[in-house]
């Protein structure tokens, strides 16, 4: 009894002594950055997904691409390919690869050779060649099928150890832009071979090997991902030793953790809250970002197969109120699916302004004076939509005014997307974030007939005329011609209205002042390649 008692006492003293704040800076804390990400990655291979969370967590950190896109210069810059040239009227591209690029050396794989043409061939063939060994490992490649890249590329040819040719079926103006996206990453062919020998090919997406600035250390679902610095990185690497993704789905908690210093940097902050807090050790940055949030109608389901109904519902929504309350004014009302910054932008069509009277009239015209629908609201925050659930609540009361009874549906994110792909929804609040600067990126992955099959087309809308326009637009490299084609595409959209664009938001990120060098490329996730952390002492000097 007394023994137990003394144990209790010592336990409490230990507990209490824990209260004292530590005074000295501990090294692992100053040599690492914690990024509080909003969710678990589905996989560690961005080829397999379109989800922003997975891309943020993997693409720029673990892997490199053949070429990168520099948003400032608005040009493609070399990465793993030192240079490239189009041949045969743009149906063949030759890439000269960089020498001396090391793959990650980890406790589960030690590379014996440097990066070469074999790796490029393997990486492309994985999603391109249905007969390749790894094609069926991990399932589908939604980005490549939605953009048609898998149909565009005929084959990847190894010219010599350090030269690769990519042969296209036809010339495509968006080809290079797609190559520069976060999805076209380079894997290690040697590692893949090793795994197939071990008969564990699936590990390639779970324990990744790449050439990127960080290498994979560990992953605990719902807790964290740990990366360490790649010591032999081929270009300037990070100034930190460790990068941790602390998985925090709750936006409010993310913000509080930033305040308490448990996060160094967070995505999708609650801007208004941070402003209310007014802390001088936290910086909120924002950038223009090519995105759109929209309300998609499942056109396969009646009554949403009737454009009249879709138009009526669109008139019922007070989008300006949404921008004021959900985005706190930090977004622009969307007039088209394309953001105004895009060169193909066009807003000459009909405007679906807030007009309950008209909405009711249109509904009666369509023969639906009483309507019961559901609104699926995604459970996560995205650049384009900081709070879909709340947006749904707003819309619910707007809809009630025109006699439409709306029910809000939400599931855990992965379940949500799975069921969405199956088309179980009536309408859904979701959005899109461009992967590259090409306007095509807003159309084909979202609204093409091909995207219906891959599940990217949330409206399940297949319009042959519209599809035709899209294919004509990518077949030509003439900018004016393309612009005209995209404008007519936007006109069709505006009339058919498979989805109602709501807002183009700015991209926000909040971080501690001590974190430097984190890049937010406009067409990609987050990039920690040059991230460093300055100590408090250094900070005060500046």
């Amino acid at each position: 009894m007394t023994k137990a008692f003394s144990l209790l006492i010592s336990a409490t003293t230990i507990l209490l002594s824990g209260c004292e704040p530590s005074t000295e800076e501990v090294t692992p804390l100053s040599e690492g950055i914690i990024y509080c990400s909003e969710g678990n990655p589905d996989t560690f291979n961005p080829q397999l997904v379109t989800s922003g969370t997975t891309v943020d967590a993997t693409a720029a950190q673990l892997y490199d691409r053949l070429i990168d896109y520099d948003a400032e210069k608005q040009a493609f810059v070399p990465a793993l390919a030192e240079s490239w040239e189009p041949l045969d009227n743009g149906t063949r591209y030759r890439f000269y690869l960089r020498e001396g690029v090391e793959f990650h050396s980890t406790d589960y794989f030690s590379p014996t050779r440097e990066f070469n043409a074999e790796d490029v061939r393997f990486s492309f063939n994985r999603w391109l060649d249905e007969t390749s060994l790894y094609h069926n490992v991990g399932g589908s490649y939604p980005f490549f099928s939605a953009t048609g890249l898998d149909k565009l590329i005929q084959k990847v040819v190894k010219v010599d150890e350090m030269t690769v040719d990519i042969v296209l079926n036809n010339a495509d103006s968006s080809f290079l832009a797609n190559l520069a996206t976060d999805f076209a990453i380079i894997l290690s062919a040697e590692y893949a071979q090793l795994l197939s020998v071990k008969d564990m090919p699936y590990l390639i997406d779970q324990k990744p090997i790449g050439t990127g600035p960080y290498r994979f250390e560990s992953f605990r679902k719902d807790v964290l991902i740990r990366y360490t610095k790649h010591p032999d990185y081929w270009r300037e690497g990070p100034g930190i030793k460790q990068l941790v993704y602390s998985i925090t789905p709750n936006a409010n908690k993310r913000m509080l953790k930033l305040v308490t210093g448990e996060c160094d940097i967070i995505p999708y902050p609650l801007i208004s809250e941070l402003q209310a807090l007014n802390r001088d050790d936290i910086i909120v940055t924002n950038e223009v970002s090519p995105n759109v949030s929209f309300w998609a109608f499942n056109t396969k389901r009646p009554p949403f197969d009737d454009p009249l109904v879709r138009q009526a519902l669109s008139h019922a929504i007070n989008r300006q109120a949404i921008i004021d309350t959900i985005y706190y004014g930090n977004a622009e009302l969307a007039r088209s699916i394309l953001p105004p910054t895009s060169w193909a932008y066009d807003n000459q069509g009909i405007q679906y302004d807030y007009n309950p009277e008209k909405a009711r009239k249109l509904l009666e015209e369509a023969g639906h004076s009483e309507l019961s629908i559901n609104i699926w609201a995604m459970p996560v925050q995205r650049v384009y939509n900081p709070n879909a659930r709340r947006m749904a609540e707003l819309m619910q009361s707007d809809l009630a005014q025109v006699g439409v009874n709306a029910r809000i549906v939400s599931y855990e994110w992965n379940t949500f997307r799975r069921r969405l792909s199956r088309g179980e929804h009536d309408t859904v609040l979701i959005g899109w974030y461009a992967d590259n600067a090409d306007p095509d990126n807003f159309f084909r992955p979202l609204l093409s007939c091909a995207a219906v099959a891959t599940g990217g087309n949330r409206a399940n809308w297949c319009h042959p005329g519209f599809d035709q326009l899209l294919y004509e637009a990518i077949a030509t490299t003439n900018a004016n011609e393309r612009k005209a084609l995209y404008q007519s595409a936007q006109h069709i959209l505006n009339q058919q209205l498979p989805l109602l664009p709501i807002a183009h938001s700015r991209r926000y990120q909040a971080q501690k002042k001590s974190v430097r060098g984190v890049q937010l490329p406009p067409y990609g996730g987050i990039n920690f390649r040059l991230a460093t952390k300055v100590t408090t002492a250094e900070e005060s000097e500046q």
Binding site: N252, L270, E273, D324, R390, I408
Partner: protein
């Protein structure tokens, strides 16, 4: 003419009356009881009392503080939330889900549980001791966990949550009723009635029931506070009643995103929940106390 009591006549109040007399003596318990009764009135009349509809959004009054603060507006007594909805109306209507629904759930589960418990209590065919021990042990699996399992089976939503909590409360009622009946059954006065040839239903309703009513009433209060807590906790976790339904727990959960912008939207539902549970607990505790005093005296 005033009534004069000429004879010594010892009244013979029922056990419940005795407990009630003791209960009345304490100011605190009466206060709690009045609060509780007021809350129940609010549940019944909330549609009349609420000044606005719960989904009505005032675009020009978003995140308005309560009226007693400087920025407040008397139009919105308790302020508005981030979508410009009147807090007071939401709290009032919310009582239907956060208090009314639990009362209904407890009512249903108590009827079912008590009937089963009473039958088990007088049934002698099962080997009593072992059965009761095993039952005891299984009862210590928390009702919240049971509710979670049922939700995992049925999915979330108002009806499913109500069903889940109702089902999870039943075992407690069975247990308490059975034990109480069982204990009374062995007392001499029941034996005497049995020897007089009373039928089992008669025994149960006329002989045993009056004597175990206080215990059952106490269990009702305990279950009610558990039900309120469970439904709020489930909604808070996002597994219960979903917003925009103004259930207090879900209001609390959604308020977390604007704690700094509108702290009242977090404080008000919390305080309401707290006061409700507290008054139920005080009533329950006073009952327990009155009960033990009656037994002791």
């Amino acid at each position: 003419m005033p009534h004069i009591n000429l004879y010594y006549k010892d009244e013979n109040p029922s056990p419940l009356t005795l407990v009630w007399r003791r209960f009345k003596e304490r100011l605190l318990s009466m206060t709690a009881l009045y609060i509780l009764l007021a809350m129940i009135l609010v549940v019944i009349f909330s549609p009349i009392l609420a000044p606005y509809s719960t989904s009505m959004q005032f675009a020009d009054a978003v995140s308005l503080p309560p009226s007693w603060t400087e920025q407040g507006n008397i139009q919105f007594l308790m302020g508005t939330d981030d979508l410009g909805r009147d807090m007071l109306s939401r709290l009032l209507i919310g009582s239907i889900y956060s208090l009314g629904l639990p009362i209904l759930m407890v009512a249903v589960s108590s009827i079912i549980g008590m009937v089963i418990g009473a039958v088990l209590g007088i049934d002698r065919t099962i080997k009593y001791q072992t059965f009761s021990r095993v039952f005891d042990t299984l009862l210590s699996i928390p009702s919240f966990l049971m509710a979670l399992i049922i939700i995992a089976i049925l999915g979330t939503g108002l009806f499913n949550v109500a069903l889940a909590i109702t089902l999870s409360l039943i075992p407690q009622f069975i247990f308490v009723t059975r034990n109480a009946v069982h204990q009374e059954w062995h007392k001499d006065y029941v034996t005497a009635s049995r020897l007089n040839g009373c039928s089992k239903p008669y025994l149960l309703y006329r002989v045993i029931l009056p004597n175990i009513t206080p215990i059952l009433v106490m269990q009702l209060t305990v279950s009610l506070s558990v039900a309120i807590m469970d439904i709020a906790a489930l909604s808070f976790l996002g597994l219960g009643i979903q917003s925009p339904t103004p259930e207090w727990g879900s209001m609390l959960a959604r308020s977390l995103d604007e704690v700094y912008l509108s702290p009242w939207s977090m404080v008000l539902p919390g305080v309401t929940l707290f006061v409700t549970i507290m008054s139920i607990n005080i009533v329950g505790d006073s009952l327990r106390r009155a009960l033990s005093e009656r037994v002791n005296s």
